[in-house]
């Protein structure tokens, strides 16, 4: 069987494992986005913690607590977390 260029296995292109490269790039961007998500969540969590313990005053503490609790309830209800187990 004669292989046309577009039917050629990606691994044969230029001697570089193209799918490996793609996986690496995609995996890297996935890792990066995961890291960014994690860092963002950590920052948001720290901000809420400082808010709730009253660093910015009682009014902000009550506001922060309400936003956090309502947000947590809404997320828990909207995402019942029926995902795959490890």
């Amino acid at each position: 069987m004669r292989l046309t260029a577009n039917k050629r296995k990606p691994e044969t292109l230029g001697g570089i494992g193209f799918s490996t490269l793609r996986r690496t790039i995609m995996g890297g961007s996935k890792d990066l986005s995961q890291f960014a998500g994690l860092a963002g969540t950590a920052l948001l969590g720290a901000l809420f913690f400082f808010l709730i313990i009253g660093v910015f005053g009682l009014q902000f503490a009550i506001g922060g607590l309400l936003v956090f609790v309502v947000g947590a309830v809404l997320i828990s209800q909207a995402f019942p977390a029926e995902g795959a187990e490890p």
Binding site: G37, L38, T41, A42, L44, G45, F48, F49, F50, I52, I53, G54, V55, F56, G57, A61, I62, L65, F68, V69, G71, A72, V73, I75, S76, F79, P80, A81, E82, G83, A84, E85, P86
Partner: protein, 470 residues
């Protein structure tokens, strides 16, 4: 070696009360968790909620039993080890402990039997009512005990004439200044304890690949409750902190590890200190710059008051208070972080798939108990050298009991309580290893009193299932 009887009396009370508080904390949290779970079962008719209910009911029952038995001991210790305290504080504390028995214990005793053994003897709604009454009973019990203990922290509503204490306002005795803050703090701690226990056991099953439906539900429920509760607890804790700075400044001065009348500006937040009580200084201290000012004074350059503001003979031991507070606060920060992480994992649909998170939940299973114990150590060691703050010193409250009597009973308590704890752990681990039992897929007969004693609701679960299948 000669041991001071007052030290032995304090060690004995510290040991027995530390052991005791583990079980009511679990009971208060689990009773309300069981009520919520049963409500969800009645509402959704999903059998997994009944499985969760049955599974945790057994553990609740064991904890409740040990809590009652070890609580009775404490009442006797007031009279035996701290007779002068009992004599003086009796008019204020005695009625509150009696009211705990009359309200909480009677309510619990009336409905506990139905809750434990009545699922197939009364209808589901009546059974749910019994569960709710037991949960209310545990809250009432917490309320009276916290009122009594808070009165010892911030005494009010009494007058002292010739060394005798007279109640002048019952309202002020019961609703003393620290009670409105300490009660919600303790109840939330109990709920957090139950939430992390439930989530931890569910996470363990997920990691082992067992009882997956049950495990997912318990992890989802436990983490959702824990996330909401820890936010509330952090808020209540900060309000309580402010109240204690006002009413018991020496306790909070010791809890923060500062000696100077005013700390440097900006103040660091100490994580590790080696206090030198004799020379009123820290031999060694590790802290985060600025964080002390930010957290404790809510300003960037605020100064924190140190323990030298309190006369030496009225100072608590800094080391105990500081480290107990750090353990409690450190665990609260970890709980908060896990709550936020659980929300993030929920959003990504990986709450049950993330192994590091599940392992963290398993490790945090006893975190509520440890944090609660640490919190009580802050409360009790921070109140020293007083047993009734500003009124009666601990050394003056101890009974004239010989040291050998206290030592022998202390050894007795250690032996008997070790058996209790071993039995509790063995049976609880056995229940966890066995896993949840099968539950019938539907709610059974109605919960009306009329139906309560009809023969068909007396069936065993197996017969009910077989009848439904046929």
């Amino acid at each position: 070696m000669k041991v001071d009887p007052s030290t032995l009396a304090r060690i004995q009370f510290a040991f027995t009360v530390s052991f005791h508080i583990i079980f009511p904390t679990m009971s208060i949290g689990l009773a309300s968790f069981l009520a919520v779970t049963e409500a969800l079962w009645l509402k959704t008719k999903e059998s997994v909620y009944l499985e969760i209910y049955r599974f945790w009911l057994s553990i609740f029952a064991m904890g409740f039993g040990i809590g009652v038995v070890t609580g009775i001991v404490l009442s006797f210790e007031f009279g035996l080890g701290f007779a002068r305290f009992a004599e003086m504080a009796g008019p204020a504390i005695g009625p509150m402990i009696a009211l705990e028995v009359l309200t909480a214990f009677f309510l619990e005793a009336g409905f506990l039997g139905i809750m434990l053994f009545g699922l197939h003897r009364v209808g589901p709604n009546l059974h749910f009512f019994a569960t709710c009454m037991v949960a209310v009973g545990t809250l009432l019990s917490a309320s009276w005990i916290l009122s009594a203990n808070s009165w010892m922290q911030t005494p009010a509503g009494v007058a002292i004439h010739d060394g005798h204490l007279t109640v002048v306002s019952w309202r002020d005795v019961v609703v003393n200044p620290s009670w409105p803050y300490r009660l919600p703090h303790m109840v939330t701690a109990a709920y957090l304890t139950a939430s992390f226990m439930v989530a931890g056991v569910g996470a363990w099953y997920l990691l082992r690949g067992k009882h997956l439906h049950f495990a997912r539900k318990t992890v989802a429920l436990g983490t959702a409750f824990a996330t909401v509760l820890i936010a509330g607890q952090v808020f209540i804790g900060d309000i309580l902190y402010g109240a204690m700075v006002k009413y018991q400044p020496s306790k909070m001065q010791a809890a923060e590890g500062f000696w100077e009348e005013e700390s440097q500006s900006p103040a660091p937040y100490y994580w590790l200190i080696i206090p030198d009580q004799k020379n009123q200084r820290n031999r060694f201290a590790v802290g985060t710059p600025y964080l002390g000012s930010i957290w404790l004074t809510h300003s960037l350059r605020g100064r924190v008051e140190g323990l030298k503001n309190t006369p030496r003979d009225r100072q608590p031991r800094m080391g105990m208070v500081f480290y107990a507070f750090r353990i409690m606060y450190g665990l609260a920060i970890l709980m908060f972080a896990l709550g936020v992480a659980s929300l993030w994992l929920r959003l990504r649909g990986r709450l049950f798939a993330s192994r590091w998170f599940l392992w963290m939940l398993v490790l945090m299973t006893p975190s509520g108990i440890i944090a609660t114990l640490a919190g009580w150590y802050v409360a009790e060691t921070g109140r020293q050298p007083w047993v009734i703050y500003g009124i009666l010193r601990t050394v003056d409250a101890v009974s004239p009991v010989p040291a050998h009597a206290l030592l022998s009973t202390l050894i007795g308590f250690v032996c008997v309580y070790s058996v209790f704890m071993s039995a509790f752990l063995i049976f609880t681990l056995r229940i966890i290893r066995r896993g949840p039992a099968e539950a019938p897929p539907h709610a059974e007969a109605s919960g009306s009193l009329k139906n309560a004693f009809r023969p068909h609701v007396l069936d065993s679960p197996a017969r009910v299932v077989s009848r439904q299948v046929s």
